[in-house]
Assembly symmetry: C2
Homo-oligomer: 375 residues x 2
Amino acid sequence: MEFHFEVLKTDPTGARLGRLTTPHGVIDTPAFMPVGTQGTVKGLTQQALGELGVQVLLGNTYHLYLRPGHERIRRLGGLHRFMSWPRAILTDSGGFQVMSLSQLRKVEDKGVTFRSHLDGAIVELSPERAIEIQHLLGSDIAMQLDECLQLPASQAELRRAMQLSLAWAERSKRAFERTPGPALFAIVQGGDDLQLRAESARVVTDMGFQGYAIGGLAVGEPQQVMLRIVEAVAAALPAERPRYLMGVGTPEDLVEAVARGIDMFDCVLPTRNGRHGLAFTRFGPINLKNARHADDPRPIDEASACAAARDYSRAYLHHLVKANEMLGAILLTTINLAYYQELMADMRTAIAAGTFADFRAAARESWARGDVASS
Amino acid sequence: MEFHFEVLKTDPTGARLGRLTTPHGVIDTPAFMPVGTQGTVKGLTQQALGELGVQVLLGNTYHLYLRPGHERIRRLGGLHRFMSWPRAILTDSGGFQVMSLSQLRKVEDKGVTFRSHLDGAIVELSPERAIEIQHLLGSDIAMQLDECLQLPASQAELRRAMQLSLAWAERSKRAFERTPGPALFAIVQGGDDLQLRAESARVVTDMGFQGYAIGGLAVGEPQQVMLRIVEAVAAALPAERPRYLMGVGTPEDLVEAVARGIDMFDCVLPTRNGRHGLAFTRFGPINLKNARHADDPRPIDEASACAAARDYSRAYLHHLVKANEMLGAILLTTINLAYYQELMADMRTAIAAGTFADFRAAARESWARGDVASS
């Protein structure tokens, strides 16, 4: 099945401009993937996502497996058809949600056993099963099952989880070869330990995957620690494969990680924080819950290409958030994903022009300037 | 200010095709007004409402008065600008919500005193104050304050509330003349008592208003009782003024009321029931919560002009409703308002063609046929 990646240009900083081709279209990188946990990006229609220029969504294997069930989705023609989403989908392996959401989980070499957060049913997830589920969902990019720890964690724990993830990478690869799909990505683990990270990156690279992810970051460590790990791991990964930093992050995180050679991201921040009243903008975040917006007739960003950012006042958004109206969540989710998409597009333009360092400096300055006071 | 109404054609059944001109555009009648309680039709952007062909919204004076406050909305340029809604807005007087939502209400000749459902604050609403609030909101069509009773009610209670509503109509008219707006509608009360209804209709017609509403129906009485009252009151109202049946109803209610000479409607059914998993369709209602839809790949209506009804399967809608996802509410609200708009447009076409009786028979037959079983 069609899957290939080209690096079109590398900026002096290390930022890469690329193009990922999947059976469901091209993904221009660096790319941000909105999170569609239960087969929907909360609050947005698929049409709205298309209009925002989204080329790839993340689907959560854990949630879809429990409800409505991967076999049902398969019968209904796969996840793309089920959701009516014609573009690419990357699915995670379910491992992260097993760790964060389920009850009474038990991690063994063979896999993880857990109780569903929906009905308490006991479920087993193994590397082979995670591949099978993603295969039946019809994923364009499947992820290996891994074990992701919170930080801080002891070196012994980090080593154990990293080695388990490597064993699972190997088994995932063999399972994927039996039911091939467009692409399988490995996940580098090792916490905040540079030596473990180097070992993990070396072993998965030797195994050979269509792409490589960096997992187990943005889980409690300072930003500088995260960026040091990202920089070291990216440098240890093969240049010709896409690099995906999982679960990251703020606009600043994205720019800094792109500067260190990352090509793909997913994160719930723009959608989840939008539902909680926060707008991400060129001038930094704006908390619409704040009473100072109650009489402010200005839009979030009158120069935005996004109608939601341009056509509704801060006073109206504040009212919607205070009144707990769905439209507040819808408009702020739209505004945030539009900003994230615009940020990625601007980074691609800057890399193409060889001016990424200038772009990064200008973006930092704009965020630091902050939101202009109410007129 | 610009406001006029023309009856373009009257069908042999009594159904009327009309055109209402307001400062915010033309309203083709019979018209259905979606309810925008807190300055938003729950779950839809103003752009989506425009794409559905909605020409007029209903705004709730009670809710907007309590939050964000009518004076704030006035400072921000009025309700149209606050919401970014360029088309017409009818505002109710707040009386109905005072009766149904507030605590410790006290009705006196001077007005009503109540405690806010938001913070318990004591607020007074009089006919004059209701007009002032609607004036500051910038309403295209203001409604008089009235007292609406639940049915059944005693004849004495119905008479008292009807006479109070007439006294308030008179005071509303005088207040409106001091702060003129495009239009003020009176409300006919009298419950299920034909004699009281006739008296109420006669008195408000003698006073003279730009339009007349029928209130106090769909409050517990059988449909046949409602339609008998509608028929009698419509016949007693001046032919050259618009007639508005408040808070009604199901698709069948709308067709039957149009057949009795009603021009305008508002109702929460398509929006509220949509949020609770119900789709209104040409083949009657479909409850998407029902497990029989879990594996059904068919859309709600593949012949619909509405993308939400055409592009998403019943299985997907079922999943969204079961998973309590916002997108379920958004899509079903869209589907329902699209169906209501289509129903009104089809009625207007039938009236223009003089074939309303045929249309009514065909619509009844289609609803009775019901939803086709899963394939």
